[in-house]
């Protein structure tokens, strides 16, 4: 059960939603596209608005026009027998004309770099390829919000980086809002501009990533969230008064600042 959730997300934002196992982050995500209460039993008290319109009472199939969802397990979200057909699935369901479907499918494959995979079957793809195809399928519906639930769990680090970067590129080009659920912050810290932290069904922190990390890194670690190592390092050095300033959120930032100090 989650409660007291008061959040708004704006287009173009990259929100990192995090918290310990069982905190309710997936529950929250499922509310966002109508899976709760339509697919999972539950009551939704309160209002959920997307683009200013209430979605709570709509079927998931309706809400998915606005809110795209990429699931954690890459293989279980591809249902067609070929990649191309899978990507076309969403637009087909939207009742679009064949030309429009064709256009969207081509565009989505282009945007995710999956052109070369179009005739392959889902089980023939690697995990990273499957995630990209799932992303393409969601993109083809042209949603205004994309929710990704721990999309990198099953991927190796290099592939994971590629997928997250692709998501960020899309966000920048099309001004969609992106919500990524992840508890390994180092994978997304470079891209996220905002972080929302949940614990035991409630939101306990919400703000710019750098600020929240700086303020609350100890508490986040205690909750089981994987604070980036560079942030922890900086915090340790700061504790001994060897450096100052707020905690860097990713390696490049830390390296830049340390370089100046170390080579002065």
């Amino acid at each position: 059960m989650i409660e007291n959730v008061n959040v708004s997300v704006h287009s173009g934002e990259f929100v990192l939603l995090t918290g310990p196992s069982g905190c309710g982050k997936t529950t929250l995500c499922r509310c966002l596209n109508g899976l709760i209460p339509n697919f999972y039993h539950g009551e939704l008290l309160g209002e959920l608005l997307v683009d200013g319109k209430t979605v709570a009472s709509q079927l998931t199939s309706e809400v998915s026009r606005k809110v795209g969802y990429v699931f954690q397990n890459p293989e279980n979200q591809l249902f067609a027998l070929t990649v191309e057909k899978d990507i076309a699935f969403g637009p087909e369901n939207l009742g679009l004309s064949r030309e429009e479907i064709r256009r969207r499918v081509d565009w989505a494959m282009d945007a995710t770099g999956t052109q070369g995979l179009k005739d392959l079957a889902p089980y023939e793809l690697s995990g990273g390829q499957q995630q990209r195809v799932a992303l393409a399928g969601v993109l083809a519906m042209e949603p205004s919000v994309i929710v990704l639930d721990e999309p990198t769990s099953f991927l190796d680090p290099r592939t994971a980086e590629g997928v997250v970067k692709a998501v960020d590129d899309l966000r920048q080009e099309h001004n969609v809002a992106v919500i990524v659920v992840e508890h390994r912050l180092d994978l997304v810290a470079r891209f996220a501009n905002r972080i929302v932290v949940m614990d035991r069904g409630k939101i306990v922190d919400d703000g710019k990533l750098g600020e929240v990390l700086d303020r609350d890194y100890e508490r986040l670690s205690a909750l089981g969230i994987g604070v980036p190592k560079v942030s922890l390092l900086w915090a340790l050095l700061r504790g001994d008064n060897l450096v100052s300033g707020s905690l860097p959120t990713h390696v490049e930032e830390a390296a830049e600042r340390l370089e100046k100090l170390v080579h002065s």
């Binding site: 079927l59 026009r65 279980n76 009742g95 479907i101």
Partner: protein, 241 residues
């Protein structure tokens, strides 16, 4: 062969099946088999066909032996050959038709759409059930292998013990597999809804089955062959041997 429309191919299957059921003649059966050989070769599935014949050996022998007792040797041979003709024609159909195309074809059949609407509420639901089932087969097969591996790694020995024990040993395989299949299906269903399934009534597919010249040719040949068989059946008696 693979590119022909499944509906045309199925008509061929029907005409062969009907012909083989109308006659009890060794000549006819051999002719039907011979007719399909070039098709098997054209579809490059000849080798797989031979393999499927091996699977049919057991039943063939039973059919032969049973008929040996109820009628003559020649009759037994003819009936066994009929079985092989049927086996071959269905194999030919399924080996040259991708599940994709099959799904698309099923989706076009008015009756299926009607049934689907009645049972499940949506016209494309039934054909979708079919393609999803096919799509899951390799995945679940891999899961099954993994479960077997995992349980063997805990000391489970599947090839030991009496019949009772062996059957019981399958419990640690079946339960996880069942649960995994259910879990996969649920996740698929979630993902489906999140992509707008079932969609609107007038839903258009990116790919469409279209009958080409070769298909019409096949349809005409099948209908021609079928009518010829019926005519021959009504006017002549084709000897058994």
């Amino acid at each position: 062969m693979h590119r022909l429309d499944p509906r045309a191919k199925f008509l061929l299957v029907i005409s062969i099946v009907v012909t083989s059921l109308l006659f009890t003649s060794i000549y006819v059966m051999v002719a039907l088999l011979a007719l399909q050989l070039p098709l098997l070769l054209a579809g490059r599935v000849a080798r797989r066909w031979v393999y499927s014949l091996r699977a049919g050996v057991f039943l063939s022998v039973i059919i032969f032996v049973v008929n040996l007792f109820t009628s003559s040797v020649y009759s037994a041979i003819a009936l066994t050959l009929r079985f092989l003709v049927l086996l071959t024609t269905f194999s030919l159909f399924f080996m040259t038709t991708s599940p994709d195309d099959l799904g698309l074809a099923i989706d076009k059949i008015g009756f299926v759409r009607w049934l689907s609407r009645k049972w499940l509420g949506y016209p494309n639901a039934l054909s979708f059930t079919f393609t999803t089932a096919v799509r899951l087969v390799p995945t679940l097969a891999a899961d099954a292998q993994t479960v077997v591996d995992a349980q063997r790694s805990r000391g489970l020995e599947l090839d030991k013990g009496n019949l009772f024990r062996r059957v019981r040993n399958y419990v640690p395989i079946l339960i996880p597999l069942l649960l995994i299949a259910i879990r996969r299906s649920l996740e698929l269903a979630e993902a489906l809804e999140s992509r707008g399934f079932p969609g609107k009534e007038g839903r258009v597919s990116l790919f469409e089955l279209r009958l080409g010249r070769a298909d019409y040719g096949l349809i005409m040949a099948s209908l021609g062959g079928l009518s010829m068989s019926v005519w021959v059946f009504l006017h002549y008696h084709v000897p058994l041997v």
